[in-house]
């Protein structure tokens, strides 16, 4: 066996390029896949730790206006016999500027089922409760505190404001960037006086909310893991795509290595090596190469994940408010899984090779005729499989058509995958047909006829690389158009919503005075007061009947008027825009698209909203887009929201006259009402921050997209390099017959760029279909909003140029080698043919 294996491996000594390509394909596929899995595993670990702590494990009591509790109110609740526990939450800033969440608890009253309470059992409770207290912190938060792990125990880091934290105690179960300590120590650090942020209780311990408070049950709170599921599914899909494209390289390299070793295999069989031993030796070879490539890939994947994690963490934080550690935290199954996926991919890519080796005919090997009919059979099989994949895509589309808009995230990805698969499978038969027709038409132009006929012969070896290129180009175009369309929509939406040049965020109690003062200012054209509160959507009445819901939602109040109303975007209205605004001013509501999608609501439906002391049934007058908001939101006119739900003011937009001096007004407001430096925000600044968050959100998508395209280019280069020698053998006789080398080189480039152009042309409708799938199905299911389908002709032209550019780039090296080959070398090729 060892001798057979070493004989097989000796091929790579003569053809090291093939070995390099094989390992490169494995490395790239494994690196991209394992990199993304490392990010997902780290994020999931962070969510699990956050879940285990508070958010989804405890019922919460909060004030309806979100203002803090006082200790006296907490004591009153305890004296009334309610099993509640106080909690103080705030932010501290470390010396390097990192913001950490500080949570102060009372372990004596906190539910013993909670992860923190359990964590305390291992330490002395009195150390936690009494000065100098303790700071519980996860090891991956230490970097922000600039403390090495070995020095962490009992360390007392200094914060940006000069205060010091109580001695540190490591608690790996805690989420990242979160510090836990006794409520007394937290109050001292946060300078919160006798304020409490919220009051919590064990799940189900309270039968109902005490008067004036909102009770949010743990079961109704979505965990970060649930919220971000679609984001991770998205990442996994891109990782899978890169993995598949990487395997195309492996397949191409393995296929060529087998083809060139057919003679060797036949000789080995003739010399008495059994078919089974041969397959076993090939499998062993695959395993050894796979192990090597996978280990290198996983190591690079971890590096890639480490580089991308800060951006991903920032994205998840800005999109979902989910905290993800900046340090990789990889469980054991990540390593085993990465290795298994890489080896499984290799087995998948190599199964064809093993199958052919098992069916090796000792006498008829390598015969062109058998090969030609074999390829025709392969094209037929590809057409059938492609048609089946296309039928699956159509079936999925039909199924999705009958589902509610928010359903079918996995089916949406399935539809896109089926479309990609169908197009990839149908590409070689399509190209073969086009080449056949063109060759027939070009019969009187001998060189063009030869080039077309020769391309048909090259197609089997190039088809895998072309399939990879098609998938990468279409995905690139599809995702690029989606992101481009989203950017346009988002910026437009920002312009429509942010109509005031100046926004004010003041303490709640000051708004009335500020509003009165601004009313007398000439330069203030309009004051757009907003209000915010929470409520529960108890029921919805639609033409189909009434439904009980119990969904927590946001209530948001705006001031309809001359400035806001004409611009505020609406997606659907009961009658027309002006009727919708008239109804709105009279007390009807607008709902955001997320809520409409999630609960299948339309204008005209009636919603019953409840909040402590208020229970209202209101009519939906319109649906509006609300990009980036993970929650359902109900919009009301500010005065209506104040009257019906007693919602406090949350901000105020100031529309100013053209000649207003913004800086003078800003200074006057600050001085008169003693406002902080961050109380007034410039519209441009808000837009800049929003746009920055938007751009960061798609950083990883763009990075993976470019990487996938690079992998596809590599697959094409691999295919061309591995067959460069046999290509020269094809071209040498033509040169001998009198076709100049320059012309042959040009033809060679034209052949490939023509095939790539055809692939690029096919990628355009496929890319548009992917964009449609993303904006109309996946976005709706994942985020709750549908985007308009934007097409960018410039991007399509870039796709075509990329296709041709990638092909020319990949073909350049083999062509240059042919061009620079000495006549003697060409003669040697010719003689060796």
């Amino acid at each position: 066996m060892i001798r057979v294996l070493s004989t097989l491996l000796s091929h790579y000594r003569r053809h090291p390029g093939q070995l390099i390509m094989l390992l490169l394909g494995l490395w790239v596929a494994s690196a991209l896949w394992s990199g993304i899995q490392a990010i997902n595993a780290t994020a999931r670990d962070s969510y699990a730790r956050a879940d285990a702590l508070f958010d989804t494990q405890l019922d919460q009591l909060e004030r309806r206006d979100g203002t803090p509790f006082s200790r006296a109110e907490y004591h009153a609740l305890r004296q009334a016999g309610l099993p509640v526990s106080p909690m103080l939450e705030g932010e501290i800033i470390t010396q390097d500027g990192t913001r950490l969440t500080l949570i102060g608890i009372d372990p004596l009253t906190l539910s013993s089922d909670n992860a923190l309470a359990q964590a305390n059992t291992s330490a002395s409770l009195s150390d936690f409760l009494t000065p100098p207290w303790q700071t519980r912190v996860a090891p991956d938060t230490l970097a922000a505190l600039e403390i090495a792990r070995e020095n962490a125990s009992a360390a007392t880091p200094t914060l940006a404001d000069g205060k010091t934290l109580p001695p540190l105690v490591l608690a790996p179960a805690l989420p990242p960037d979160t510090l836990i300590m006794d409520i007394a120590a937290a109050a001292r650090l946060l300078e919160s006086g006798d304020q409490l942020t919220r009051i919590v209780a064990a799940p189900g311990a309270l039968a109902e909310a005490p008067p004036g408070l909102t009770l949010t049950r743990a079961t109704t709170l979505a965990s970060p893991g649930q919220l971000t599921e679609s984001f991770h599914l998205n990442l996994t899909a891109l990782g899978l795509l890169a993995w598949v494209v990487g395997l195309f390289i492996v397949q191409a390299a393995l296929g060529l290595a087998l083809e060139q070793r057919l003679g060797m295999l036949r000789t080995l069989r003739v010399l008495g090596v059994s078919g089974r031993s041969l397959v076993l030796a090939l499998s062993l070879e695959l395993f050894l190469l796979g192990l090597f490539g996978a280990l290198a890939g996983i190591a690079s994947g971890v590096w890639l994940a480490r580089s991308l994690l800060p951006d991903v963490a920032a994205t998840l934080n800005s999109l979902y408010g989910a905290g993800v550690g900046q340090e990789l935290n990889l469980p054991w199954h990540y390593w085993v899984g990465g290795l298994a996926v890489s080896l499984a991919g290799l087995l998948l890519a190599g199964s064809g090779v093993l199958w052919r080796a098992a069916r090796l005919n000792m006498l008829e090997l390598g015969q062109m005729q058998a090969w030609r009919s074999g390829y025709r059979r392969q094209l037929s099989l590809m057409s059938i499989a492609g048609a089946l994949a296309l039928s699956s895509a159509l079936a999925l589309y039909g199924w999705l058509h009958f589902q509610s808009p928010g359903d079918g995230l996995v089916a949406g990805f399935g539809l896109i995958a089926a479309l990609l698969l169908a197009s990839a499978l149908l590409l070689p038969p399509f190209l073969a047909l086009v080449l056949k027709v063109l060759a027939r038409l070009a019969r009187r132009r001998p060189l063009i006829h030869w080039a077309l006929a020769d391309m048909q012969l090259q197609l089997p070896r190039l088809s895998l690389a072309m399939m990879a290129l098609l998938i990468a180009l279409a995905t690139n175009l599809g995702v690029g158009s989606m992101v481009g369309g989203f950017r346009l929509t988002f910026l437009d939406w920002l312009d429509q919503r942010l109509v005031a040049p100046l926004y004010l965020n003041a303490p709640t109690e000051q708004y009335a005075n500020i509003d009165a003062w601004l009313a007398d200012r000439q330069e203030v054209f309009e004051r757009l007061l907003t209000r915010r509160s929470d409520a529960t959507l108890q029921a919805a009445t639609t033409p189909e009947g009434s439904r009980s819901l119990g969904t927590p939602i946001e209530l948001y109040g705006i001031t309809p008027g001359e400035s806001l109303t004409p611009h505020w975007p609406l997606l659907a209205t009961q009658q027309d825009r002006s009727s919708a605004w008239a109804a709105f001013s009279d007390g009807a509501i607008f709902i955001n698209e997320q809520l409409a999608t999630a609960e299948n609501l339309s204008p005209g439906d009636r919603l019953t909203l409840s909040a402590p002391g208020a229970n209202e049934t209101l009519t939906i007058a319109a649906i509006y887009p609300d990009y980036g908001n993970p929650s359902g939101q109900v919009l009301m006119a500010s005065p209506q929201l104040a009257a019906r739900f007693d919602a406090p003011p949350s901000s105020m937009g100031l529309v100013l006259s053209d000649d207003a001096d913004v800086d003078t007004l800003r200074t006057a407001l600050r001085e008169r009402f003693d406002l902080g430096s961050d109380a007034l925000s410039d519209q441009r600044e808000i837009k800049r921050i929003a746009t920055e968050i938007f751009e960061r959100t798609f950083t990883i998508t763009r990075a993976l997209n470019v990487l996938t395209l690079a992998v596809a280019a590599l697959a094409l280069l691999a295919s061309l390099l591995t067959q460069a020698r046999s290509r020269r053998q094809q071209l040498a006789p033509l040169w001998a017959l009198g076709v100049p080398r320059a012309l042959l080189a040009q033809l060679n480039l034209a052949q490939l760029s023509g095939a790539a152009l055809a692939t690029g042309l096919l990628a355009i409708p496929l890319g548009i279909a992917i964009t449609w799938g993303l904006v109309a199905i996946i976005n709706v299911a994942a985020f709750g909003w549908r985007l308009p389908l934007y097409l960018f002709p410039g991007q399509m032209a870039v796709t075509l140029a990329t296709a041709v550019g990638v092909a020319l780039l990949a073909a350049a090296l083999p062509t240059l080698r042919f061009w620079r080959a000495s006549p003697r070398a060409l003669l040697a090729e010719e003689a060796n043919q």
Binding site: R372, G738, V739
Partner: protein, 221 residues
């Protein structure tokens, strides 16, 4: 028509310089046939490659129709091969992507001398009638070599160069192929230079030369 004048050709090998042709001179007149014999590695194929302008001499001149081939730029040498020469190789070198008929007409079309009547005549004479739409691998060795001869003669070149024409064929097929070649050469009145190690191939030709240690000697077939 074809003239070698004091031609030297040396190759660099790992073992040192290898003197393949040493002061070789020869003349081939229009319509004449010449066999070039010699042992393997004697330089026969190198001489043929020089005659076709596929390679260039280190010293001396190779002239075709009184034109020094070495002085011609590469595109002109390519045109010379395309329009004035017919080449037949031992391994046939048919284009696998083209059918029999397209292979046959390839060089004639490249030389812009495609003549349908002549092509049809050649098909008949080559015994390939009814096989026009087949691909090269669907033919026997003898049929493939006949097709290669047809391809070389399709543009009616004034000079036909053949390298080990029958080297890959059995004795009977080789005889049939040679007979066909000579008959067609007579019909087209082109000059013929055949490189061979077979006395049977050399026998029917006008002249026979032997290459030995880089030197050319008159020889009896």
């Amino acid at each position: 028509m074809l003239e070698f004048h004091q031609v030297h050709k040396t190759y660099t090998t790992p073992q040192g310089p290898l003197n393949v042709l040493d002061n070789v001179s020869l003349r081939l007149a229009a319509g004449q046939s010449l066999a070039l014999m010699g042992e393997s590695g004697s330089g026969k194929s190198t001489l043929l490659h020089l005659a076709a302008g596929l390679d260039l001499p280190d010293q001396g001149t190779v002239s075709f129709e009184n034109q020094n081939v070495a002085s011609l730029p590469e595109p002109t040498r390519a045109r010379l091969r395309r329009e004035q020469l017919g080449l037949v190789f031992q391994q046939f070198h048919l284009v696998p992507s083209l059918t029999v008929i397209d292979n046959l007409r390839l060089q004639a079309r490249l030389a812009k001398r495609d003549d349908a009547d002549w092509t049809n005549y050649l098909i008949e004479r080559l015994g390939l009638h009814g096989m026009e739409k087949r691909y090269p691998e669907q033919l026997s060795g003898g049929q493939q070599q006949r097709l290669a001869i047809g391809r070389a003669l399709a543009p009616r070149p004034p000079l036909l160069l053949a390298d080990e024409l029958t080297g890959n064929l059995d004795e009977t097929t080789a005889g049939e192929v040679l007979e066909l070649l000579l008959s067609l050469v007579r019909e087209t009145q082109c000059a013929l230079l055949i490189v061979t190690h077979s006395p049977q191939v050399a026998a029917p030709l006008d002249r026979c030369l032997r290459l030995s240690h880089g030197n050319l000697l008159e020889a009896a077939p």
